[in-house]
């Protein structure tokens, strides 16, 4: 299933990192460069979890697949917990 950001989420990209604001929750988050890359993929509204893993695998070829899967799951869980997706 395609992962999608909620309509109430706004993203600002700064040199120092990416700011993610949920107006629903009234909360502001900061994310790393990798987090920002994943958010970009999610914002395209055309990838499911497996496809994101494949893209990450190509981009970060030195990291092993299991580790990538675990990191992505953790990140997605955080996004869910914060009601961003």
């Amino acid at each position: 299933m395609t992962i999608q950001l909620k309509d109430t989420v706004n993203i600002v990209k700064r040199k120092e990192g990416t700011l993610v604001y949920s107006s629903n929750a009234g909360k502001l988050f900061k994310t790393s460069e990798v987090g920002s890359f994943i958010l970009d993929l999610i914002a395209e509204k055309k990838y499911d979890e497996k496809q994101i893993i494949e893209i990450l695998k190509n981009k970060f070829s030195s990291v092993n697949r299991d580790e990538l899967e675990k990191d992505l799951k953790d990140f997605l869980n955080q996004l869910k917990k914060c009601s961003l997706i």
């Binding site: 309509d7 706004n10 993203i11 600002v12 990209k13 700011l19 604001y21 502001l28």
Partner: protein
């Protein structure tokens, strides 16, 4: 010292971001006029909000919907703001055409003396004229006789004004315009720069002028800073840093500055901060 200031300025932008999103949403909900929404949306794009953001798309659609057949919006001021906003999307053919129409409309509504007012029957004003000249320059429009008339009018008007008491927003407009199409006389520029530096209040900010009981305001301070940042040299450096410090220390808890309407303070201050961070990375 500068790194510390840069960090504080970056934090100021971070605080202004959620405030601006909430403000823009509220404006959309209650149907605030497109000019105010476009002004805020333009600032959000400047700090890095994505063009595909739903809020931005909504403002874009509304701006395109409200553009009249003649190319303008409700007033000259609103047309200038909407033109500035839609020009962020000029890679799209439909918008290129809309920009062309808006520029044509603005040229048609230039006053006979060379300046522009806030609306069609208004008298020419430096703050309107410099902003129109600035957007023409940013859009890559070639210098023409209408633009030359605008410069001649601005220079004459400002030299008259400066002989009395002068106003910081007019001085800033002159200096910003000078960095666009052509150079005003060296004497006018030097006198204006000197005037602005002397006009800085002790607290580091600027008001309408040093005789004004109003004192430093976010809008006047940010506009002066935007102008001075185009003349970044040892002479202006200290004044700029003091001014930027005034901006960060006067941001309210919720990310706003003390101005009305609220978006004016945030747009002006974030504009100055963005330019400062760009020129002083």
């Amino acid at each position: 010292m500068l790194t510390d200031l840069n960090t504080r300025l970056e934090e100021a932008i971070t605080a202004a971001f959620p405030l601006s999103i909430n403000l823009l949403k509220k404006m959309e909900e209650i149907g605030i006029e497109i000019g105010r929404r476009a002004k805020l949306a333009n600032m959000l794009l400047k700090i890095g909000l994505q063009k595909r953001d739903k809020l931005i798309i909504n403002v874009l659609n509304k701006a395109l919907e409200e553009q009249r057949k003649d190319g303008g919006w409700g007033s000259i001021e609103e047309s200038l703001i909407c033109l500035r906003f839609i020009s962020n999307f000029q890679e799209e053919n439909l918008i290129k055409d809309r920009i062309k129409k808006a520029v044509h409309w603005l040229f048609l509504n230039q006053n006979k003396n060379g300046g522009w007012g806030r609306c069609v029957r208004d008298r020419s004003r430096i703050p309107m004229t410099f902003r129109i000249v600035e957007i023409f320059y940013d859009l890559g429009i070639k210098r023409n006789s209408a633009i030359e008339r605008a410069y001649a009018w601005m220079e004459n008007e400002w030299n008259k004004d400066m002989r009395f008491s002068g106003l910081s927003y007019k001085a800033s407009g002159i200096l910003i315009a000078n960095k666009c199409f052509m150079e005003l006389s060296k004497r006018t520029v030097e006198n204006t720069l000197r005037w602005l530096l002397q006009d800085q209040n002790k607290d580091g900010g600027w008001g309408p002028n040093q005789y004004s009981p109003v004192g430093s305001t976010p809008n006047q301070t940010s506009l002066v800073l935007r102008a001075l940042l185009k003349y970044n040299n040892p002479e202006t450096k200290k004044a700029i840093e003091k001014g930027m410090t005034w901006i960060v220390t006067h941001q309210l808890k919720g990310g706003q500055w003390k101005e009305h309407p609220p978006e004016d303070g945030v747009v002006g201050c974030v504009d100055a901060i963005t330019l400062f961070l760009k020129t002083n990375p």
